[in-house]
Amino acid sequence: MTRRVAAIAFNTFREAVRDRVLYNLIFFALLLVAMAPLLGQISIGVQRVLLVNLSLSAISVFGTIISIFLGISLVSKEIEKRTLYPVLSRPVGRGEFIVGKYFGLSGTLFVNTVAMSLGFYIALFIMSGRLGRADANVLLGIYFILLQFLVIIGLALLFSSFSTPIMSALFALAMFVAGSFAGDLRAFAAMTHGPGKWMALATSYVIPNLASLNVMTRVAHDQFIPASLVLYNTLYAICYSAATIAAALLLFSRRDLK
């Protein structure tokens, strides 16, 4: 089973690489180069905050776009092009296929994020001449962005398992936007009463809590990130992704392939 999942995951990764998905790294490098003259005109402390904020935002935006737009076609494209037929006619379970696809795209995002992070640290080193403890703290921000990708890929995969790519893209984008305001929705639920309170609360638990995974500003200002938040976010991302994969499998296992 592990070998079949690994084969599907590697094929998904290879497809993304050969479809030139990693070309976004060039845009990221160009962005860093374009920022250089701007950074030269401001003070050293602000320079760092700006570089961290812009770099992490770019890592997040590029990664989210890749997660959604590759994620929504993970299953539907295979059905549409019928590349799935020779796969599922072999001793491959539909669950193995779904899990392999998930790991394949997660691996792509991991490599992409690692490459961008290296670019960021090189730029930071060139700017400040050294790397300190506060800079290591940025790694936590990057780690949380990766967790965010895991959640978004799970959602995109779920929508891809039963819907068309266009509808999946709309659903996934809507969930991403709503998830970015999950904290506000919970705050609203705490302030209101009656059925509205329960609806807001229920919705806030269904949509992904992406707001909690966003610590970019905090790491840019070298604020302390508690270990409990790291643990909570890790568990949350794992559980949420597992739930979306399970739902995707449930829907996909009943689906007739046209």
Partner: protein, 310 residues
């Protein structure tokens, strides 16, 4: 032992805007395929051939019914590793090369890396793609993709191979190569189940055929018996239109193409017809007995009168 036993497969689809209407894809189907035979699954477009193959491959679920492959439930993973499948008009990951694709499918079929390393070059050689192994599939023609499709279907050396319209869209040379490949599989003792609407291919390759139409099995026959049946008629071919009225008077039906006339007559009228041709000084080209043909059987099962009977 039976290779395939289809036990009442049935498929209906929800149709219409509210999905309340039912569209029949396959009526209850009972069919056996013997081990080691080449079995042709015939029928016009929309007959239910691909639906049956998709059901057997587990790509869609039956509304009712079940199947056994080599005596086991058709959806068992152990069964899957003993079968190969070529879908209709196959499309593969075009970012891969044939070697990468075969490695991928081989790994999914449970083959070891050593086995794959030994088998892939031989298989590419066999399908005529030995020097295209490292070219991405996006640069392949339809015929080359069909060869890759056949290679992936047999990469794990299955005992039973399902081919859905394997000759569809191929030029005569490509069709001949596929025919030869099916013959070689059969010579190795493998069971081949293939769907087609090209009757000459089925007649040349199959031990038995089943005829489907409108989601229903219309008949199963042994090809050798079907083609050896005597019809009691002979076909005469000659040049010279002047002889036509005399031959038609012998209850013959004549087809004219240019100067050449082709007539099907009762066997008892053969010598009378030859006399008539001699009297008119027509140039005799051929006299052939009209045997039973797969085409006649196919048309009969579809409820369409054969040409000779029209």
């Amino acid at each position: 032992m039976l290779a395939v036993e289809i036990l009442g497969f049935e498929k209906t689809y929800a149709a219409g805007f509210w999905r309340k209407k039912r569209k029949v894809g396959l009526r209850p189907l009972h069919l056996d395929v013997n081990q080691g035979e080449v079995f042709g699954f015939l029928g016009p477009n929309g007959a239910g051939k691909t639906t049956t193959l998709k059901l057997l491959m587990g790509l869609i679920s039956p509304t009712a019914g079940s199947a056994r492959i080599f005596g086991r439930h058709w959806r068992e993973p152990q069964v899957r590793s003993r079968i190969g499948f070529l879908p209709e008009q196959p499309y593969f990951y075009d970012h891969l090369t044939p070697i990468e694709l075969l490695n991928y499918y081989g790994a999914l079929s449970g083959m070891s890396r050593d086995d794959l390393r030994a088998r892939i070059p031989k298989l590419l050689e066999r399908v005529g793609l030995a020097d295209q192994g490292t070219v991405q599939l996006r640069k392949f023609s339809k015929g080359m993709l069909q060869r890759v499709g056949i290679a992936q279907a047999v990469i794990h050396d299955p005992e039973l191979v399902f081919l859905d319209e394997p000759m569809s869209g191929l030029d005569p040379l490509g069709r001949r190569e596929v025919r030869e490949f099916i013959e070689s599989l059969n010579a190795e003792g493998k069971t081949v189940f293939f769907s087609t609407h090209i009757l000459s291919d089925a007649e040349a390759l199959c031990d038995r055929v089943a005829v489907m139409n409108k989601g229903e099995l219309r008949g199963v026959g042994v090809v050798a018996e079907l083609v050896s049946q005597k019809s009691g008629r002979v076909e005469i071919v000659w040049q010279g239109k002047d002889a036509i009225p005399a031959v038609q008077a012998l209850h013959a039906e004549c087809h004219v193409a240019g100067e050449t006339v082709r007539a099907s007559i009762p066997e008892s009228q053969l010598y009378a017809a030859l006399d008539a041709l001699r009297r008119q000084q027509a140039r005799l080209i051929a006299v052939n007995p009209v045997g039973g043909s797969l085409e006649n059987y196919f048309l009969q099962k579809l409820g369409v009168p054969a040409e000779a009977e029209q």
